[in-house]
């Protein structure tokens, strides 16, 4: 029989109140830990998608907009870069690679990124994590033959009308390898082959695309995209141009592409680096060179994401403050539960006093009991946060392709748990003072 036994018996005697109060604390602790962990995880998630790219070139209004549009598909960039400009930039000997991208089309609300096969062979969405296919293959180049055994259209330009689906796009559209689709100009709902045309305005209905691959999730915004060959995108828009000039035009091919059709909206750049290194001494040089060109916007993804998080960080602080307020209210909950129990436990306190228990020890018993509720709640809350955090992360990745891996650092958990226990102990001070002051004689008399 120890003080701990007395505390446990007391908690058990008020089991409902104990459990409800501990749950309140657990929810508050869980919320606080999830917010703290998600704050770091959010930054990590945004870092995913830029992968091994050092710079992004576009003609957006600012580097931040360039990143949001070019990497996170916030909106299709409005101002194009002509192919000649791309060639000029790509010719820089300090570059390891320069991959052109074009946005503007969509399928069922999912953005389409037209690019070159190098997008899958050189650019990686996460550092040191190359693209992986769940099914099928990547888009191929103009000179790459149809893989042996694959059934497909027997045309030399068939490569230009192949599409690879990001994992979330595949899940969201329900498409599978071999399906044929029409893309829509702009971010509007487009449709699958055979759907009524009047429901999908601006559909590139003269060109069907064949799904050739589905990607594994990357945890980046690219999971929501569909990837096609740049040549196909140019043909589509050359066709629109030609039809605008002559409504009788029914067919456009690669041969019909004019220099003015060769437009892109972004360039993913990587500066030459030593093998295995991510940073490069040439990066500031290239960055400076490109910035001198006033016709383009140059963004350093990591720098822009840091800027973004400096802005978002304030919101983080508000959320953490709200979680702290919830924790405080759970502390008040403990105090009320303990305070309300004092009426029924005055006799117990009086009996303990008769048996030789000092006022100080009674004070300590109540304070420890209050802290125990904090311990139970904090431990349960930490468990709740870990399980809940990963469940939420799973749902986010599954539903929107955003890979948010909760980061639970041991010091953060310990700090929150200790703060909770301290808060719970403080919440027990007033009930403990009441117990300390309990008049013994009055509470030993027979009831009634």
């Amino acid at each position: 029989m120890t003080d701990f036994t007395i505390i446990l018996r007391s908690l058990r005697a008020r089991l409902f109140s104990t459990v409800v109060t501990a749950i309140t604390v657990a929810v508050a602790v869980g919320l606080m830990l999830v917010l703290l962990s998600m704050s770091d995880a959010g930054r990590q998630a945004f870092n995913q998608g830029t992968g091994n790219m050092h710079l992004l070139v576009s003609r957006d209004a600012s580097p931040m907009v360039a990143i949001l549009n070019g990497v996170f598909y916030a909106n299709p960039p409005q101002r194009p870069i002509m192919w000649e400009k791309y060639q000029e930039i790509a010719a820089n000997p300090l570059l390891e690679w320069a991959i052109p991208t074009q946005q503007g089309d969509s399928y069922e609300g999912f953005p389409v990124l037209a690019t070159l096969p190098e997008f899958f062979t050189k650019f990686t969405p996460n550092e040191n994590e190359p693209w992986k296919l769940r099914e099928g293959r990547f888009i191929r180049g103009a000179k790459d033959p149809l893989p042996a055994g694959e059934k497909g259209p027997d045309r030399p330009d068939a490569y230009a009308y192949e599409v690879v689906l990001g994992s979330a796009a595949a899940k969201g559209t329900g498409l599978k390898v071999g399906d044929e689709i029409f893309l829509t100009h702009g971010i509007n709902a487009s449709r699958q082959l055979g759907a009524p045309q009047e429901e999908a305005p601006h559909v590139h209905k003269d060109f069907s695309y064949r799904v050739v691959g589905i990607l594994m999730p990357t945890g980046s915004a690219h999971d929501r995209a569909l990837f096609t060959h740049l040549d196909g995108a140019w043909v589509l828009h050359a066709h629109d141009r030609r039809k605008d000039a002559d409504e009788s035009v029914t067919k456009t091919t690669l041969a019909d592409i004019e220099p003015g059709d060769r437009k892109i909206t972004g360039i993913y750049l990587r500066v030459l680096t030593r093998a295995g290194a991510q940073g490069s001494a040439s990066l500031p040089v290239v960055y400076d060179q490109l910035r001198r060109d006033s016709s383009i916007t140059v963004a350093q993804p990591k720098q822009q994401i840091d800027t973004l998080f400096r802005i978002v960080g304030n919101i983080d602080s508000i959320f953490v403050a709200l979680a702290a307020a919830v924790m405080l209210s759970s502390g008040i909950g403990i105090m009320l539960a303990m305070y309300n129990s004092m009426n029924e436990r005055r006799r117990q306190v009086a009996v303990l006093r008769v048996l030789g228990c000092s006022r100080g020890r009674v004070f300590g018993l109540i304070l420890t009991e209050s802290a125990m509720i904090g311990v139970i709640g904090a431990v349960a809350g930490a468990g709740l946060a870990v399980v809940g955090g990963f469940l939420v992360a799973g749902v986010l990745k599954e539903q929107i392709g955003l890979s948010v891996t909760p980061v639970f650092s041991a010091p953060a958990i310990m700090t929150v748990v200790l703060a909770t226990v301290a808060l719970a102990a403080v919440a027990g001070v007033i009930p403990a003072i009441l117990a300390y002051r309990t008049p013994v004689a009055n509470n030993l008399r027979p009831i009634g």
């Binding site: 120890t2 003080d3 007395i6 009996v351 008769v354 048996l355 000092s358 027979p446």
Partner: protein, 228 residues
């Protein structure tokens, strides 16, 4: 302190007076000229309801402070001890038995007895064996049962075992039979007196039940103790 010299009385009260704060005009609630109980002596203190019998017991136990006078238990001036020292002294030298037993709910019979030893100098490793021995001696077999699951008579025995757990010099019994029928009351008093005799503890039993008189060689009335 059980180990006090045998010639030191278990209880020695002189000029003890008490009234509640702010009730100066209402006279003394407790006004005891003198009362002495030798080691092992058993005294019945009678008086009507509300005359201050229970208050006198709380004063003796050091749970209340007198306005004037002195209470020595086993030679120690109880009210000269303060705070933790007084609580410790009470736990070691005084056992209390109440009309409604005042057992701790949520605790087993065994834990109720062990709780009394928690605040003593008895080594913790001896608590269980000692409590089990006492309960067994008093005929309690269901030691793990909570008091509410025991009969009234068994609860009384648990209360007695708890009062005797620290081998007190003095046992204070406050109307111990008031909630029992005459037959059980006789049995309970037999038990309390027997155990006190066996353990060598003095017993001061307050009661307004006239049928108790025959059980005690020494009887005092509350009025008879008054200083005036």
């Amino acid at each position: 302190m059980s180990a006090a010299a045998p010639d030191v009385p278990a209880l020695d009260i002189s000029g003890l007076r008490f009234r509640y704060p702010g009730a100066e005009g209402n006279g003394w609630v407790v006004d005891v000229r003198g009362l002495r109980l030798d080691r092992g002596e058993q005294v019945l203190l009678t008086g009507g309801s509300g005359v201050g019998k229970s208050t006198l017991l709380y004063l003796i136990a050091g749970l209340m402070d007198p306005v004037e006078g002195r209470v020595n238990v086993a030679g120690r001036h109880v009210h000269a001890l303060h705070g933790h020292q007084r609580d410790l002294y009470r736990g070691r030298t005084v056992g209390m038995i109440f009309q409604t037993f005042n057992l701790l709910h949520g605790f087993s019979a065994l834990e109720n007895v062990m709780a009394a030893m928690m605040f003593s100098e008895i080594p913790a490793k001896e608590h269980r064996a000692k409590a089990e021995g006492l309960l067994r001696h008093l005929g309690i077999e269901r030691m793990d049962a909570e008091p509410t699951r025991l009969s009234v008579g068994q609860q009384q025995r648990v209360a007695v075992a708890r009062a005797m757990a620290c081998d007190p010099v003095l046992v204070l019994a406050d109307e111990p039979t008031a909630s029992l029928d005459p037959e059980n009351a006789a049995g309970a008093m037999e038990l309390i007196q027997g155990v006190c005799r066996e353990k060598g503890a003095a017993l001061l039993c307050v009661s307004h039940d006239p049928s108790m008189a025959g059980r005690f060689e020494r009887r005092e009335t509350f009025l008879g103790l008054r200083a005036g």
